[in-house]
Symmetry: C2
Amino acid sequence: MSDPRLTPLAAALPDTVPFVGPETQERRAGGAFRARLGANELTFGPSPKAIAAIKRAAHDVWKYPDPEYFDLKQALASHLSCDPVHIVTGAGIDGLLGSTVRLLVAPGDAVVTSDGAYPTFNYHVTGYGGTLHKVPYAGNHEDLDALLDKAVETRAKLIYLSNPDNPMGSWHTSSDISAFIDRIPDTCVLVLDEAYAECSDADTTPPLQPDHPNVIRFRTFSKAYGMAGARIGYAIGPQSLIGAFGKVRNHFGVSRISAAGAIAALADTDHLNDVLKKIAQSVDRIFEIARANDLAPLPTATNFVTIDCGRDGDFARAVLQSLGERGVFIRMPGAAPLDRCIRVTCGPDDAMNVFAQALPVALETARTKK
Amino acid sequence: MSDPRLTPLAAALPDTVPFVGPETQERRAGGAFRARLGANELTFGPSPKAIAAIKRAAHDVWKYPDPEYFDLKQALASHLSCDPVHIVTGAGIDGLLGSTVRLLVAPGDAVVTSDGAYPTFNYHVTGYGGTLHKVPYAGNHEDLDALLDKAVETRAKLIYLSNPDNPMGSWHTSSDISAFIDRIPDTCVLVLDEAYAECSDADTTPPLQPDHPNVIRFRTFSKAYGMAGARIGYAIGPQSLIGAFGKVRNHFGVSRISAAGAIAALADTDHLNDVLKKIAQSVDRIFEIARANDLAPLPTATNFVTIDCGRDGDFARAVLQSLGERGVFIRMPGAAPLDRCIRVTCGPDDAMNVFAQALPVALETARTKK
C-alpha cells in the first residue's frame, strides 16, 4: 500500500493518527453523542462578539488573509505587552509545533517529553525523524528534574512541557517554571505548551521574557477563547527563532475569518471572566459526580478534570467505552500509569447531567467485565 | 540573526517569502487600494449560500473540526464521481503542495518546474532541501516536452505544471495533458495544479483517473468559488499517495467554518455559472482596456488576464509600481521574459473603471522613466 516513491523518512512513518475525532466515533456508532466532553473544547461557547466578528468577516471571504496577520499580531502584542516580532500565528498550536520541530529537529536529533504527554507533538517529532526520549510523570505531574536530566543526557534539541498539564490537569507554579527555564541548556529549546493558561486563576504562568533564547511558548484560541474550530494559535519566543518560522510556514495558512474572530475574542475580557466562573463551577460539579461514585478527581488548572478510576488502564478504558455507548464522549491518557484515569471536559449543566447519569452505569459495566 | 540551533537545512533557507500581501503594501503606503486586482481572488464574491453556511457554522466554532473532513470529502467525491479515498483536503493548495513535497522529495532530490511558475511550490521544494530544475516557457505556455525531457534527465521526483497556467493565463488542451500524463516516468509524480480549472469553459481538464499512479491534481475553493480567505483546497490522486498525507498533515488544520462554507459553495452550481459569465465579461473588458492602450492581452482560461506591455521587465515593473501608486493592486510574473507582462484579475465594473483610468497614466509615467 505504501507508495514506493515516498522519501525513506515518509515511508517509515506509521499510519497512526494523533487523535480520532468524535465525529468518526459518531459515524461508527450511527448516532450523535449526547454530551461532547472529550476534546477539552469550550462547551460554553466563545464570546458573542467573536461570533459576530466571524459573521462580518464572512462577507470578505473572497480575499486572501493578510499573510502577516498584522492586525492580530498587533492585538496580541498589545495584550501581552511585547513587540510583535516575538509572535508568530499559525493553524493552531498543532501547526506551530510542526513548524517548530521542522526548524529545530534534524533526523536523529534527540527530543525529550513525558510519557503520556501530547501525542501530536510526538507525531511531529517522529514525522521529522527526531528521536523521542520519554520520562515518566512524577505522580500526576510532569517531572521537571527528570526532563532536564534526560535533556542533558541526550543533548536534546527540544524539551516539551505543557503547563498546565494535559492530560492530567496538574500544574507547576510560575516560579518553578521560571527556575526550570533558567536551567535549560543553551543548545536546547523548551517547548512550553500553555494551551490552558487562561482557563483558571491558578499561578501557572511566569512573566513573559520574549527575548529568552531557550523558551518558546504556545497559546491558543481553542480553549478558554472557545474557537477550536477556527484553528488559530500563536507562539511567543526570541526573534531569532520566531523570525525563522517565515522560512517554513504556510504563509496564508490561517483563515481570515478565524483571525477576525480571534481579535474580537481577545478583546472581550468580560466574556473570559464569565468563562472562568463557568469552568470553576463545572469543575466543582465534576468533582461532586466523581466523588459520588467513589472516584478521585484530580486538582486542575484547566477546563477539564482528570478522574482517577482507581484501577488499571483496562478498567478505565472499559469505563470510557461504556460512557461512549451511553452517549458521553470523553478521552483518557494514553500511557500507563496515567491511563488509570479518564478525562472529562467542563460543560454546561445538561452535559453534566448526562455524564452524572451515565457514569455509575458505566462503572458498573466496567466492573462486571473484569 | 539566524538561530544557531536551527537544523542545517533550516539555517540554509532564505528569508524571502513567496508573496507580499496587498495589506503590507497598504500599510507601507498609508492607504487602501481602490482596486484589488492582484491576487486572482474572486472579486465578485462567493455564493450567498456559502456566506450563509459560514454564518451558521460560526455558532459551532467552539468545536474542533472533524479531522477526516468527512462531509466535505463526501461532497467532493460525489461532485467528482470518485471514491473519497482519492481525496485529501488541506489549508489551500499551498498547504497541500507542502505536504506533497515533504512526502516525496528528500534532500537533494530533483524537481522540475517552469521558470516563472508558482513561487510557493518552489518555496516548499527549497524548504525540504529539493533541487529545483527550471525550464523556460515556450512563448506564453509551459513547455510540456521540455518539462518531460528535464525530468528524465534529472530523474526528477516531481514535475510541477499548472493548467490553466498562472501567471500567463494560457492552457494546454485536455488531450495534450492526457498525453503528457501518459509519458510521466514511473518514478515521478506530476503535480498538476488546477487552481483555475473552474474559471472558464475552455477545454483544459482531462477526465479524472484517480488511480493513475503518476499524477496528483490540486483544486481549490480560493478561485472560482470565491473563498480564498477560508484556506481550503484538495488534492486528488492514487490511494497509495493520498493515504500517505495522513502521516504528515496537520490533521485539524482546516477551519470547520471553512469546510462548512466549501460544502455550500460546491452545491451552488447556479452561482458558479453566474461567476463564469462575470469572468468572461471582465476578460472582455480587460482586453478592451489593454488594446485601447496599445498593449497585447493574452488569451486566458483563468479569472485574470496577463497583458504583454511590449517592453522589458523594468518597464512592466514601472507600470506596476505606478498603478500601485494610483490605487490599483496588481501583480506580474517574476521571471524574464514573462516579466514583460502584468497580470490583472477580473473584477466588477467599478474596479475595472479604476484600472482603465489609471493604466494610461501609469504607462506614460513608466515611459518617461526610461
